[in-house]
Symmetry: C2
Subunit: 416 residues, 2 copies
């Protein structure tokens, strides 16, 4: 079952190397894997100047500005942080070989379910070069080979980082493969390599995610799109509601767990809407709203039908008035991307209903949606936030980079 015949030879060779490496990596002890990780951390520090040099070339060629340039930029401090992040992964527990369940059947068969690596994990990502190290590190810790396909802007940085990691003493050939980012064909090859790749995880914007979901022949973990909602119920403490809305919208507006929509109970709209619009506007947020919201506050632009489904990823929010919790839940289940939603309420029954009926990966009562994050959940690291229901849902990290296997031990039993 060696993939499809249409994969470019250079990519196929890399995938086959990764496949071969995955068999070796799956058998490494936790100690051996941690030694490789420590080797990566040391090597990143030892090659700091080379990394900075490669990154400077990327920066010059990319000719970006503002947030885009900042995402691409590496500094001595950022390289130190990358190395530190690798050492943090060393300290985390290794999920591989964990016995998940074990039982004996009436016929004497002993059945054991153990955790095993996924095998070959493909990651497709955009400009941030630290993902190269993050993804490789998490894959390695869980005994997987990783195939990386980064963004064109970071080509030289990623190449240098992958070379440095692959060059660590004892690293199996093929454990970390970097695909050519100069052509879209490598994305196609990676997501269609059935039999060679066990899962592809796209990390990036909506266009990338959609492309992967629509074209992949291998299993995918869908990540990241977040049209997140906050519902301020009639009984909400206004001060708490303001704090949560401002935090969820403005603390880091470009990320998937930032709030994009605000629903307000009609019973408090006349009081709460003018207040929150003023606070949002003061924080530099563009506010859009339905007709009722526009009638209650100045500086609000009318929202169009498209607004309710859009993920702005910038300082913009749309406000909609609802009559009760049921209407808030219906609106969210219709328009959200099933990432993170929060209710602010003093009424426990409404909170319970919201937590039960909102069909999203993470549902909050009286907290900011910004907490949907592997680090904030206490996982130590994060590979992404799954918005699908298969395999894992919500922030995921080491355990979700594993599969399982049944080992069955008998004394000659046959089926009758």
């Amino acid at each position: 079952m060696w993939g499809t015949a249409t994969i470019a030879i250079s990519t196929r060779e890399k995938l086959e190397r990764a496949r071969a490496a995955s068999a070796l990596l799956a058998q490494l002890s936790t100690t051996a894997k941690n030694e490789l990780l420590l080797g990566i951390a040391d090597a990143l520090e030892a090659h700091e100047l080379e990394i900075l040099h490669a990154n400077a070339e990327d920066i010059e060629l990319a000719n970006l500005s503002g947030a885009m340039a900042d995402r691409l930029l590496l500094t001595p401090q950022r390289i130190d942080e990358m190395a530190k992040a690798v050492r943090d992964v060393v300290a985390l527990p290794d999920p591989v070989n964990e016995v998940l369940e074990e039982w004996t059947r009436p016929n004497g068969l002993l059945i054991r379910k153990i955790r095993v690596p996924l095998g070959v994990v493909g990651i497709i990502y955009e400009s941030r070069p630290n993902v190269t190290v993050d993804a490789a590190t998490l894959a390695l810790k869980t005994g997987n080979a990783v195939v990386l396909r980064g963004g064109k802007e970071a080509a030289r940085s990623n190449e240098r980082l992958a070379e440095i990691m692959s060059g660590v003493s004892g690293m199996p050939a093929g454990a970390i493969e970097l695909l050519d980012c100069g052509t879209r064909e490598t994305v196609q090859d990676l997501i269609r390599a059935r039999g060679l790749v066990d899962v592809v995880i796209p990390r990036g914007g909506p266009a990338l995610i959609s492309h992967v979901m629509e074209n992949a022949l291998v299993p995918v973990i869908e990540t990241g799109a977040g049209n997140c909602h906050i519902f301020v119920d009639e009984s909400a403490d206004f001060e708490m509601a303001s704090r949560i809305v401002l935090n969820a919208k403005t603390q880091r507006p470009s990320v998937c767990n930032a709030a994009e929509k605000l629903l307000v109970h009609s019973g408090i709209a006349a009081d709460f809407v003018p207040r929150i619009v003023r606070e949002l506007t003061n924080a530099g947020v563009e506010v859009r709203g339905d007709a009722e919201v526009c009638s209650l506050a100045i500086d609000v632009k009318p929202a169009t039908k498209e607004d309710w489904a859009e993920e702005y990823l910038r300082l913009c929010i749309a406000i909609h008035i609802v009559r009760d919790t049921d209407e808030a839940i219906a609106h969210i289940n219709r328009y959200s991307t099933k990432h993170s939603e929060s209710i602010v309420t003093a009424e426990e029954s409404n909170a319970r209903k919201f937590l039960g009926l909102v069909d999203s990966a993470a549902v909050y009562w009286n907290a900011s949606t910004r907490f949907t994050d592997g680090g904030e959940f206490g996982f130590g690291v994060e590979m992404g936030v799954s918005t699908q229901k298969l395999h894992c849902r919500g922030p995921f990290a080491l355990r979700e980079l594993t599969s399982s296997k049944y080992q069955i031990i008998g004394i000659g039993q046959v089926r009758s």
Copy 2:
């Protein structure tokens, strides 16, 4: 995010009804779901004559013979068995709402991971009408809506069964939707309905599975292909090895956990191969083999390169001689479909190596591969056998028809 625009209207309406039903089903108590299941069991018995009548029409139109006709046939006894199987599901534990994990973060946030239904589960299957009831029953028990797309031969039987189940008192409209089996478009629509369908499970032959894997835009659980191997090691007890090989090959050759390949250690080939070839031949099995096998026994046809990857699903087996456990493992990892493989050996170190390094869903030591089955594993039921690594691997049943969700409870926390 309502699917794609290209779905036929009749199918879209069914999928949207299923989507709406899934929200209701997810909230039903275990008792309520069990009442619906008991209603199904009673209704199947009450409408036995109608079911038999519809089935007789299918049988007449299909004009099949032998095993194919038998797969399609319903009898009073088989309907009783279907009803009994439904009642068995009532007795199984309901996995929904199980608290999988719960912890409190240093900032006071309480994080709870609970088990929730997947939502809308699509099943594509072939001629056996009992799958209509099986699949609907397992979906219902786990709070999912089910969309069924059965085979054309069983059209009338499936329609009648779906109608009977949908007509049970209290069954939410849309809980069980049956798509038109007269056109291939309904398969395409089902597997491409992103946003409406949470997972598709194909149950059938290799052509069906491949088609679904290659064309689906929604997450899929790949099932069923089984090119299963048995490796008879040098230290194997011949009597045990024979019993296991004969059972795995002949007890039910048309199923995915039947053995298709036999690997024999070179040290015992001269003694064991003639014996097992004779036994297999006596049991009506066509035996193929590599050059060495052909030189050791009569009645063996030379195996071609294609044989090693083929899933025969009939009374045929191919035998290959290997020098040691490592070569057996390498051969299996190259050619198997990662379903079930068994080693017969008295040498524990070889067994451990085999169980560790063979990259398949179920790996056996001294037992028949025929045990890879939800019932045999003790799950009470089975939805299929996953041969992929994402979400679940090996036989899967109720728990694997669920996802999870994070509920986070705060007192106004925001992220700093």
